[in-house]
């Protein structure tokens, strides 16, 4: 059992408030990902949980026990750093056994635990090498191994994959998922990479400027973003955000007139808060737009990014806005051609003038 509870956690550096009151519950064996743009406070928050940064205000509890005043080594946590932070003069075995050595664990037991962790991470043959003789992925695994041998209540990961190349990152992502299943441990993971967030997380916490924007499962954030920021941040390529006006709001949804012209788009959102005539923002995922000879939106393809399986079209609409359209890689559409687009209203989102989403009438079945 290992739960982490944050109650109105704050962090100030002088007059500057970096973390502005965060409430969060991490359940046992859950993998929670903190995600957000640079400087949003996600690493600071992780370091506060780790005990490397003082908590200015609020309460942090692990397993229901307040640990604000407990030192980092006594909280029962283990952290994997972005730079791995391996001790360069020690072998892999010494690196992984260092915490146990500090805790006064006898050599035989230390060796047994290190061997066990090395087996889980397939590091067996590297135990007597030094970090500089290892590749990036192997160093990463040693850093994880150093955390595993301590058998911590909670694993903390601070952007652990950002120093790896793309192929290795994909491989380590799979391995981390496997580890999470095998170790059955609570994990908190910080990243700015939304692919990592979407694939690894049981629960994503989107942070911006020291505040929580939304907490939810990956698909919940994708299908039901709470506001414009989350909508723009989760999903790649970004959601297209077009200004418009709420025309009709009734029980079947909200009809939006786009400022760019074209016919009304009907979005199945709850109408409350969007009286007709109010300015709104219409959010359209790139896959909710498709080329259609009779489509209502008209523009010119400025750029076609062919990814093979998919093609991303950057379209300049007649009204002046740019949108990104995701189509099949087999579609022959070329750059500098005129194009008409159809909108799948059911997959769109409406945000009010404050940027808050109007709740959808029907929840996506995958985003329970």
């Amino acid at each position: 059992m290992a739960t982490v509870t944050l109650r109105d956690i704050r962090k100030s550096y002088g007059a500057f408030e970096a973390i502005k009151g965060i409430d969060l519950d991490v359940a046992d064996r859950e993998l929670v990902v903190f995600v957000g743009p640079s400087g949003c406070g996600k690493s600071t928050l992780l370091r506060m949980i780790a005990g490397l940064e003082e908590i200015t205000d609020g309460e942090l509890a692990i397993d229901g026990k307040r640990v604000n005043e407990t030192g980092p080594a006594d909280r029962g946590l283990a952290m994997v750093f972005q730079s791995y932070a391996l001790y360069p003069h020690m072998t892999v075995r010494q690196n992984m056994g260092f915490a146990l050595r500090m805790a006064g664990v006898p050599r035989a037991e230390r060796d047994r635990k290190v061997e066990e962790a090395a087996r889980i991470l397939q590091l067996g043959t590297y135990l007597d090498r030094r970090p500089k003789e290892l590749s990036g992925g192997q160093r990463q695994r040693v850093a994880i191994g150093r955390a595993i041998v301590r058998n911590p209540k909670v694993f903390l990961f601070d952007e652990p994959l950002s120093n790896l190349d793309a192929a290795l990152r994909g491989q380590m992502r799979v391995e981390l998922t496997r580890l999470h299943e095998e170790l059955n441990a609570t994990m908190i993971y910080v990243t700015h990479d939304q692919v990592e967030a979407m694939t690894l997380a049981d629960k994503i916490v989107v942070l911006q400027a020291g505040r929580v924007e939304q907490v939810g499962s990956p698909l919940e954030l994708y299908h039901h973003p709470a506001n414009v920021f989350v909508a723009g941040f989760i999903g790649s390529p970004r959601m297209n955000l077009l200004p418009g006006t709420a025309a009709v709001a009734n029980g079947t949804g909200v009809e939006v007139d786009l400022d760019a012209g074209g016919p009304r788009v009907t979005v199945p959102s709850q109408a409350a808060g969007a009286a007709s005539g109010r300015a709104v923002t219409l959010g359209i995922r790139p896959e909710a737009l498709r080329p259609d000879a009779n489509g209502p939106l008209y523009g010119e393809v400025k750029l076609a990014e062919r990814l093979g399986g998919l093609t991303l079209l950057h379209v300049g609409l007649a009204g002046g806005q740019n949108v990104i359209v995701q189509i099949e890689g087999s579609a022959p559409t070329r750059a500098h051609e005129p194009i008409r687009l159809a909108v799948d209203g059911a997959a769109c989102h409406v945000f009010d003038a404050e940027g808050q989403a109007l709740p959808a009438l029907r929840r996506n079945p995958l985003a329970a």
Partner: protein, 306 residues
Amino acid sequence: MSTTVAPHAGAVSGPAEGAGQRRPPSFFLLAPSVAVLLLWMIVPLALTLWFSFQRYNLLDPTVGGFAGLDNYEFLVTDPDFWAALANTLVLVGSVLAITVVGGTLLAVLFDQEFPGRNVARLLAIAPFFVMPTVSALVWKNLMMHPIYGVLGSVARGLGLEPVDWFADYPMFSVIVIVAWQWLPFALLILLTAVQSLDHEQKEAARMDGAGPVSQFFFITLPHLGRAISVVVMIETIFLLTVFAEIFVTTSGGPGNATTNLAFLIYARALLQFDVGGGSAGGVVAIILANIVAFFLVRTIARRLEV
């Protein structure tokens, strides 16, 4: 250097293969500095070697000619020589120990945040910029003098008998002065090394449950290994030739208590006017320095490999 110069000897007429075309000009461009360096090194070395095999005393011009190994024989059978050798080792060893240990501790100390840190650092490093003669004079007359010195005043203030440092503890006093001069150097090098220690490594050690003392021994000290060997190498080279501090304070005495090899050579050649004997001492010093340098460079070159 050697890799650039070595191929020139035989390869000038060889087939031009790209880089070969640049060889003659680069050789000519290198030649002046190589020639100056050779002259600078070879001429004094050859002269010293030559004099060391000559009967050459400035007081008695009638004695001259080839002396064979006599100068060396006189040198090694002179008890002063062995005393000077021992003094040299004691001086170098003690100063190295004081500066490395003290420098490491001070470096860790000055790495901490505290008000006025930059001023404190500047003050701690300042002694290195005082020239040896001046610092020796300051120590001799203002600090250690039994009548005028600060230490003497303090001793009298406490009702104790002032210590005549240079008479009673001559070697210790010289060591104190030289260590005072070289501690800032060690501090400077080691402080930059401490600052280059990866922040996350220290944090990882903290998470691993290492307290300040364990962090120092398991993380900081191994990280400093390379910088410490650089300090040891550079200091050894300079400490083997300490002269001004001894000349100004004790002139090698009392007796031969503070005579090191450099001072012995000076005394032979310029106080006893025995150029031959002095040169023989010089050759021994060169051989000694090279032995030390050989071992130091070998161990340090291995450490410097990344």
